[in-house]
């Protein structure tokens, strides 16, 4: 059984279709990049999976459990967590309070304190600023907090929407390094929206290409990065970053 199965899924906002007939499966422990131009429906796909938007058609399953009709809070209890585009950290809460919001669903309460320390080990700056208002963090720090906050729900499947958005390249490197390490340590299944196929190829993994709300490509990220045709078509040229 696949970890996650998305079958014939459609999402629309009023009359505007955002996704049409998207089908893809992902196996446990896999790393999947979702790429595609602006407006392709990448965020909509992630939102449909975590229950933030309703699907108008199709099925989504986690470990064979049907998600359709479940609330976001019920889906979170199945071990799925979302790190949204724009991070959506709670700016009026402290850094540590942000980390604790998602711990209510855990059965292993005794492990919570330990896991918080682990987040601080992974992201030292969060530990230093644990009592500061999260709204005062920089963009990169907020991204780290959003990832840490997701981890605190003790997920098996983590969806990360454009972690590189608005961050300096060296910070992006750091974020990806941590994601990859976390995945190794915890056996996480990871789905990451990443616009840069060069970046995806460097980190390594499978890549699904979305365009106009449909899947138009699925394969090894390296294959896509080497293909200038796709880069030209979907991202404009991406060579500058690929060769750096």
């Amino acid at each position: 059984m696949s970890k996650l199965g998305v079958y014939d899924v459609a999402v629309r906002y009023g009359k505007v279709p955002a996704l049409t007939d998207v089908t893809l499966t992902i196996e446990e422990g896999e790393r999947l990049f979702i790429s595609g131009p602006n407006g392709a429906g990448k965020s909509s796909l992630l939102k449909a999976i975590c229950g933030a938007v309703a699907t108008s058609h199709g099925r989504i399953e986690v470990d064979g459990d049907l998600l359709t009709g479940r609330t976001p809070e019920a889906i979170a209890r199945l071990g799925l967590t979302m790190v949204p585009e724009g991070r959506d950290i709670f700016g009026t809460l402290t850094v540590e309070e942000n980390l604790r919001v998602g711990t209510g669903i855990r059965r292993d309460k005794s492990a919570v304190e330990n896991d918080i320390e682990e987040v601080y080990e992974n992201f030292a700056i969060l530990g230093e600023r644990r009592h500061a208002n999260a709204g005062a963090l920089s963009g990169g720090q907020q991204q780290m907090l959003a990832i840490g906050r997701g981890l605190m729900t003790n997920p098996k499947l983590m969806l990360v929407d454009e972690p590189s958005l608005g961050l300096a390249p060296n910070i992006v490197d750091q974020v990806y390094e941590t994601l990859v390490n976390l995945q190794k340590d915890r056996g996480l299944t990871l789905i990451i929206v990443e616009q840069s196929s060069a970046r995806a190829a460097r980190v390594g993994g499978r890549m699904v290409l979305l365009r106009g709300g449909s899947v138009v490509g699925d394969g090894d990220a390296k294959k896509f990065a080497e293909s200038d045709v796709l880069n030209e078509a979907y991202f404009g040229t991406d060579k500058a970053e690929a060769s750096s």
Binding site: P72, A76, M82, F90, L93, G135, G139, G150
Partner: protein, 304 residues
């Protein structure tokens, strides 16, 4: 004569009532962007729950006769129950409605409650006597102050401190604050929407009951219209405080109470009947200067 301490106690006790009523509104606005105009009617409902249902002009105390130790928890529960019921039967079905549609339905609900009271109790204000001994003045720092005023001030402080601790130290409090800032994100992290919203309504209703007890004792009247009057001031306080900001609602409640007492005390005699015109002029000025509210925080906006 000691006018300053007297003014101080007047201002603090009136402000305390406004602050508690404003808190009840701000709590609900925080978690579901609803300005609940039925809140004033929760207060009226609780006042009328003290007396035997009848349209007679003379009120017979019913629950109001019970000893305080029984009366207080029961009335707080009644307030909570009315608020939770209105969420369950009305607002729960409007989660995806626009804020305006929700606000209109809260008006409608308010009228339903008010007219139900009208049908059961009649329209004439009734004299009631709840804890009349609390209106006896006591001497404190040279001022002669009704005991009730001191109780109101202490109650408000206790409520504010308890609420602050609840929000700051408990799991449901953390979830409420997270949900108030970003409901969808909180749910994605497993926070149960129904639990948080029901909790907020229960707290809000209990606050309405506390205000009801104070108003009943202070005025000695049960009046169908009392909900609307306090609701107006409380709503203004939540707006001035910055909609949804709990500390803002408390501060603005006290501010309006104080302004109203000070105007009453210092306006020339001829102008006093028009005190409210001066008060609401201050409200307009405050909103012109700080349309987002006096205490709205800017920290919610992430720096990117």
């Amino acid at each position: 004569m000691n006018a300053i301490p007297q003014l101080f106690f007047d201002a603090m006790s009136l402000g305390g009532i406004y602050a508690m009523a404003a808190l009840g509104i701000a709590l609900i606005f925080g978690v579901m962007n609803l300005v609940n105009f039925a809140h004033g009617e929760y207060i009226a409902f609780c006042v009328f729950a003290l007396i035997v249902p009848s349209t007679d002009a003379v009120a017979v105390m019913f629950l109001g006769k019970a000893p305080a130790i029984v009366l207080i928890p029961i009335l707080l529960s009644i307030g909570a129950a009315v608020a939770v019921a209105s969420e369950f039967f009305v607002f729960r079905h409007m989660r995806n409605a626009t804020p305006v549609a929700m606000m209109i339905s809260s008006f409608a609900l308010g009228f339903v409650i008010q007219n139900s009271l009208l049908a059961v109790y009649g329209s004439r204000p009734k004299a009631i006597s709840l804890w009349p001994e609390l209106n006896t003045p006591v001497s404190i720092v040279g001022a002669s102050v009704p005991l009730l005023q001191i109780i109101v001030i202490l109650t408000t402080l206790a409520v504010v401190v308890t609420l602050a601790l609840l929000l700051k130290k408990t799991k449901i409090g953390l979830e409420m604050r997270a949900a108030a800032e970003n409901f969808t994100m909180a749910r994605l992290l497993g926070v149960k929407a129904n639990v948080v919203i029901t909790g907020a309504f229960a707290l809000s209703g209990a606050l309405a009951a506390a205000v009801a007890m104070i108003m009943a004792t202070q005025t000695g009247v049960a009046d169908i219209r009392m909900g609307g009057q306090i609701m107006l001031v409380a709503f203004i306080a939540t707006v001035i405080g910055g909609l949804g900001s709990l500390p803002g609602a408390v501060a603005a409640g006290f501010l309006i109470g104080a302004a109203s007492v000070i105007l009453q005390g210092f306006l020339p005699l001829e102008a006093r009947p028009f005190r409210d015109a001066f008060l609401y002029t201050l409200v307009i000025v405050s909103l012109l200067l700080r349309p987002q509210g006096l205490f709205a925080s800017n920290s919610a906006k992430p720096r990117v």
